[in-house]
């Protein structure tokens, strides 16, 4: 997950990401509970057939799919406003730049998606799973990194004056 910002190779960066190319819109991506040692395209929609179970746990609609003989149960999460998912490809050769850390990797976006379906092997998805909980970080990060405005400062000093 990356916030949609233009690439900015800053000092100390070890990678640049170019999100400018018009990428394929996948709408959704799947996160499987296994390692698949292949890097490349696969006919996902021909073989991987998620189905709604009709089951709903804590407001999460449970889906079902099979992969390599295993039954997976999953849930689809939409990214919050302002966030998008990207499939990145490493650009090879040529214009790699260098800094003190050595080689800088350059990535270019090949596809994007707005929601992610994560799959558990044998366990029903729930709000306690680590992926939905990852979204908490976005709220925390926003609170921590949001620039302090003049109004914020004014409010703060107003509150302090009230206290004293």
């Amino acid at each position: 997950m990356e916030q949609a910002t233009p690439p900015a190779p800053a000092a100390g960066a070890t990678a640049t990401v170019d999100l400018s190319p018009v990428a394929v819109d996948l709408v959704g991506a799947h996160l499987l509970p296994c390692g698949i040692r292949q890097n490349g395209a696969a006919p996902v929609s021909d073989y991987f057939k998620p189905r709604s179970t009709g089951l709903e746990v804590e407001g999460v609609k449970v889906e079902e799919a099979f992969f390599r003989g295993r039954k997976l149960q999953g849930a689809t999460l939409a990214f919050p406003d302002g966030y998008r998912g990207y499939v990145l490809e490493k650009k090879s050769g040529g214009n790699d730049t260098h800094n003190s850390d050595g080689e800088v990797s350059n990535f270019v976006s090949r596809a994007e998606f707005q929601n992610i379906t994560y799959w558990n092997h044998d366990t029903t998805p729930s709000a306690e799973d680590s992926l939905p909980r990852c979204f908490h970080w976005l709220t925390v990060a926003n609170a921590m990194h949001k620039p302090v405005t003049v109004e914020d400062l004014a409010n703060m000093s107003a509150m302090q004056n009230q206290d004293s």
Binding site: A15, C34, G35, R37, Y47, F66, R70, S130
Partner: protein, 301 residues
């Protein structure tokens, strides 16, 4: 599990003591559903049943079985039910984190049929069934579950008891039809149903597996992925690693634990994996990140 259209229970079955036979079809093949079938009738009908040529169902030709199935469907003195267990349910159960072996699946299916027939109100007195595993242990298991019923568990019960032969026809015809009318979940091109018998010695089955293997997805869900027959077709497949295969499978306390360990060590059903190699863990960070498996990426590569 898919169940057949529920049948109305015949009146005699709730008034006269009945006997029932249970048999299976498609336990061994690498593809297609496994079907459990049962047939029941009143004790007083058993002698007539013996004259209906159900005996030795395995030696019958497909058309003869179809004919017999149609005739028993319209026979008012006979009741029957089936339990169709899809190949993907078989694979999924056998590859679960806590694995269920095929004997257990078979026992549960048979017991499910007994329960269903009882719930319909059939006066079951005796049940004849082909054995799965040790006959005596199986008999004890069934008797404990259904204390009011006398169970006769025997090898080759289908050739010994007409009521089991009948059940075997119900099961076999249902499986054959399921395969004939199979609709693939997958939408890949050039799939066909020249599957052969589903046994590894059958050249048609070998060819079918060869035609339908896929380096990433394995096979269509018609195939039972937990079968050893699949293994040789995965020599060149993409390696897939599962967290559940990390669990020490020797701890499994049922009889087929050994077989399952063997399957996974053959390399298809699982590879020993180093979790951290492929999954972020948040290790070394504060609890907030650990609980969410959020790792700080220092270097994108």
């Amino acid at each position: 599990m898919v169940e057949a259209v529920p049948m109305v229970v015949p009146e005699w079955a709730t008034k006269e003591p009945c006997l029932m036979g249970i048999d299976e079809a498609g336990r061994g093949p690498v593809l297609g559903p496994m079907v459990y079938g049962c047939m029941y009738c009143a004790h007083s009908y058993n002698n007539t049943l013996a004259t209906l040529k159900f005996a030795d169902s395995k030696t019958l030709k497909e058309e003869q079985r179809e004919e017999l199935f149609e005739s028993l469907k319209v026979n008012n003195s006979i009741g029957w039910e089936v339990d169709v267990i899809c190949p993907k349910d078989l694979s999924a159960k056998m590859l679960k984190k806590s694995k269920v072996n095929l004997n257990e699946i078979s026992h549960n299916s048979a017991m499910g049929l007994v329960r269903k027939v009882l719930d319909m109100g059939v006066l079951l007195e005796e049940v004849y069934i082909d054995t799965v595993g040790d006959p005596e242990k199986y008999r004890v298991k069934l008797s404990e579950k259904f204390p009011g019923i006398k169970f006769v568990v025997a090898k080759k019960a289908d050739s010994l008891y007409p009521v089991v032969s009948g059940a075997s026809i119900v099961a076999k015809v249902t499986r054959d039809r399921a395969l004939r009318n199979w609709v693939f979940d997958e939408t890949a091109l050039n799939m066909h149903m020249k599957t052969g018998s589903g046994y590894p010695g059958d050249p048609d089955t070998k060819q079918w597996l060869e035609d339908h293997k896929h380096p990433v997805f394995g096979f269509p869900t018609l195939v039972r992925f937990s079968w050893g027959t699949c293994t040789p077709f995965f020599k060149d497949a993409v390696e897939v690693t599962w967290e559940s295969d990390d669990i020490d499978e020797d701890a499994t306390n049922n009889g087929s634990a050994k077989r399952q360990v063997k399957l996974s060590s053959l390399g298809f059903t699982g590879f020993k994996r180093k979790t951290e190699e492929i999954e972020s863990s948040g290790k070394g960070r504060c609890k907030f990140f650990q609980a969410r498996k959020l790792e700080l990426v220092k270097k994108l590569e």
